[in-house]
Each structure stands twice: as structure tokens, then as C-alpha cells.
Symmetry: C2
Subunit: 322 residues, 2 copies
Amino acid sequence: MILTEEGREERGKSLFSLARMAVSGGTHGNELSGVYVVQEMERQRKETGEHAWPIPVTTVLSNPRAVKECRRYIDKDINRCFNRATLSSPITDSSPYEVRRAQELNNLLGPKGSTDAIDLICDLHNTTANMGLTLIHYTTSDWVTLHICKYLQTKITKVPVRVLVLDVPISDAYSLESVSKHGFSIEVGPQPHGVVRADIYTIMKEAVDLTIDWIHKFNSGTVFEGGDVEAFKLIKSVDYPRDPKTRTLTAAIHPHLQDRDFCLLKQGDPLFLSFSGETVKYEEEPLHPFFINEAAYYEKEIAFHLGKKMMLTIPSVQVQKD
Amino acid sequence: MILTEEGREERGKSLFSLARMAVSGGTHGNELSGVYVVQEMERQRKETGEHAWPIPVTTVLSNPRAVKECRRYIDKDINRCFNRATLSSPITDSSPYEVRRAQELNNLLGPKGSTDAIDLICDLHNTTANMGLTLIHYTTSDWVTLHICKYLQTKITKVPVRVLVLDVPISDAYSLESVSKHGFSIEVGPQPHGVVRADIYTIMKEAVDLTIDWIHKFNSGTVFEGGDVEAFKLIKSVDYPRDPKTRTLTAAIHPHLQDRDFCLLKQGDPLFLSFSGETVKYEEEPLHPFFINEAAYYEKEIAFHLGKKMMLTIPSVQVQKD
């Protein structure tokens, strides 16, 4: 129940309760905070039983073979395999491991787009970029996930908590969390791949615990007030300067840009420093860079993404009564 | 020529000139600063010809297959393959790629322990640990390399320049630089593997340029004054707390220890933070930790090394006249 300025009682937008959520780690096998958060939650379940959390939580290691080898993936990036086409492609002897595993996960947590799909997947990732805690969505209109973001922004004060919107139609959406009704992924950085840092692990674990906390409060009837949520919308990607023949890098991210994820990039600001010492400058409209110098994006030919800041207005929400 | 306190002229210890050196990168294929330093030097040679540097410099990518795949190694760590036993092992169809390649490099730059061996190899590495610029040696009695360290310590002021001594007999020494008469490796960090950071690249390039500079000055007759050089000697390694059955980590480096390479670790100081939140403390004699949370050492079961600080006294040196 919310009291408006005029003193009237106003109920929030009614939404279905969230019966079950999943926490997935190791979608990229060398992003270790998520692997150890899932491991710790499984230890907690073993110790405390099914009532370790106030709501039912499924925990899953998405790419166990890649985790074992501490690599991003074995045959191909599994987090690009959850689009409709790949999920419905026939499996043959030559199918990549990750396509098989994506279909298994879709059976376990989906099927994607169906009423049987799990209510929420929180997929855990790390980045070598200085992105603090970033919550990534496919849409600007999922009030559940945006309310969770708002809640995390209020509760977590040690690092910046930012919201990133990819704005891809859900049928084209290719990542694991798109299998659930309300999914989002959590990126925490900077952390080198193949390393777990206690500070980064702790932030990720806190974000997961607070997400469970929000869902429990929501299911129990708490009304969450609406308001504004700042978000960044992906506009485009920028590649490194490369040798036109060999495609090898000829420059690195400029020291003035390195680690400045989400700061405004203006015309004339340094972008790259070539290995022979020349500076390449930014020449376009002011935008916000992120995923600056992410290790896994070298092969995708991405030095950083650029996004636009925007304000999303979300309504008050509360659980729909039976 | 050096004037002693009493005003007598004193010549430094006479050592052979250094006719040729090698700069090697990509010994670990995902340590990218070294890969790009070698690439840039090869570009400089193409642009300027053989006189790009005042002394002859061989440049080499040690593990080109691993560089191409951006992995530490293909079959096994090449930087553990340069001991006498592995260099003389017979090559068969099932020999690991790195054993073949190590023998190729020994033919190119060695043979190890022979008079034909190249004078100096400077092998380039990166670490995820916060180790600044660290120069690693096998012995406390190589005046050439220790003088180069002293020179780098004087000239480089942006980051700490430290000397690390492994003190392994040269015949057991297993890393690439042990093939040359006076070798050392350069570690620069923190840099995630699979990433090149401009700040780290620039420090490494400066260290290589200054090494060439020192050798040129030495060969030209400059007398380098002796003195004290602070160094750290490896004492032992410490592993992560692990589950006794699965061998999986149960704790990460404690936030109070993370990034504090070479700072003194005293009894009672925090070492690890378990994934459930308990702190493990240090209980032994005060020592200096380094390679704290190096990604590549998880599989070697090393969370960090511990070393003792010591002072080495080195004599003045000058080139031996014909």
C-alpha cells in the first residue's frame, strides 16, 4: 500500500508471484566468482537443507566442462546459444558441446518462452573491465527485474550499481537468462579471468542474496514503490586499431580511458595508445563507454561498447493476490 | 674509472662484452604485453633496419601456437622445459609441442651452458599479481644482470622495481632465460591474462629499452659503480585452502593481502577469506609474499610465494679490453 501525496491509498501494479528462481554460474568457465558463489550456495543447501533460502532456488553450473578446464568455453560461447534457432537446432554427432548443453539447460530451466519456464534466472559473470556491479537486461519494460535493480542500488553502497539494457527482441536474445520469464545477468569487475578476488566475490554474493531477499518480500506482499531508474542503453561497439593484413592489434586502450567505464567520452578524448606511442582520439558524439578492455572481447573484435544514458520510470509493483 | 675515497683510481671487475641479446615474448601465450613488445620491436626493425638498436638484438615469440590461441600453453608449460633433462629428451611423435619448441629455442639461442649460447635473454612475462616490475634471476652472483637491475631501479620511477632470486642450480633451472649466459625474466603486473594494458606495456617496453641501453654503455666501456642491491629470495610457496576430496578452493586471498605483494606478512595477518566468510590468519615467521593470486598458479597449487628480503653487494664492473 502506498500513500500518494494527496493521502489516497494506491496499490502498485499487480504482478504474478515468483515461485522459483535459478542462480547460474560458470556460464563462462573462467569467470570464477560465479563458480564459487554457486559452489557456496550448494554447500549452504547441504548444510541447511532446502530451507537455506526463503524461496526455492535452483543452482546450476552452466558449462561444467569449461569450468573444469578454466576456459571461457570448449567449442563455442554458450552464452550466445540461447536464441530460438540454436535451441531448436537438431543435435548430431558434430554438434558443439555448448549447443548440446544449452538445450539441456533450456529443458531444465525453460523451455524458453513457455509458461513452464522458471520465473527468474540470475546468471553470474565477471569482467576484466572496471564495471563495478552491472545488471544486464534485454528490455526496458520488465518491472520485476528493474525493481530488483532499484533495490540493489539502494542496498549496495560499496561499488556503483548500474543498469544496462541491450534492447534485443526476446526471441533473438541469445544468453542464458533469456530462458526465464524475468532474467538478468550480473557482471562484476574488474577481475582477471581465471582468478577469484574476495572483494568481487563478496559483491556478487551480496547481489544474489539481495535478489532472493527482494523476491521473498515481493511474494510476501510488500509493495515496492515506483520511481526513476538510471540505465545505459547499448548503442554500438568499437574495435581496436588492427593491422589490416594480419588483424593483430596495433594499439591498446589509452591509459586515460582504461578503467573509466561508464564515464562520459567526449570528442577529442584519448581512445587508444599505439604500441609505437601515438594517441588515437574519439571523434564522435558524447557517449558512455563500458566493457573497456574485456579479455573475452578481443576475439569478438570489440575494444569497448558505447551506450546512452537514459532514465526509466517504473511503476509501483506488488504481488497479485489469488 | 672510479675514484676511491682515498683518491686512488680503481677499475671495475672486468667482464666479457655482451655481443648479442635476445628479447622473447609469448613464452606464455596469454601474457600479452611481451607479445606486443616483440611485435613492436619487429616493426621497428622493419622500419629502421638492423640498426634499430645500438647492439644486435634477436626477437622471438617463444610459443607461437599458444599466442595464436591466447592460452598459457598448448600441452605443457614451456617455461618449465628448459632444464637439461627436458632439453636432451628424445623427440617422438607423442612429444608435447612445448618440448619440441623448447629444443628449437635451445638450438636458436643456446645450446644452454655452451660458449655458443647467446649472451643475454630477457624473457617477458605478465602476472595478475600486483608485482610492479620484478626482475627474476637464478643466482645472486651474476654481476651483469644485477647491474642491469640496479640501472633499471635508478631509471624507472613510475613503479617499484624489485629483484627476485630463485637460487636454483643453473643445470636444474627450467625457464627460457637459463639458456643464455646472463638471463633474467621480467614480470610486470597487475595485468589480466588475455589483456594488454597500455600502462603495463609501457613499463615493459621501457625496461627492455633500458636493458639495451645498459648493454650498449657497458660494451662501450662505461664503468658501472658497485653498491648494494635489495633482493627477495624465494623461501616457500603457500596453497589455497581446498576441499580435501574435490581439491576445489574453499577460500580466496583475503582482501587485506590481495594486491600487497612484497609487503611484510606478520603473524596474525589475514591470509584467506573463506567463501562462507571466515578469515584464515598467518601463523609463521614474518616474510614477504609475492605472486599473490596469480591466475596461472591455481593449477600449480600456489596461492602465493613467500620470500626473505636480503641485501646483495655487487662490485663495480667494466668491459674486458681485448
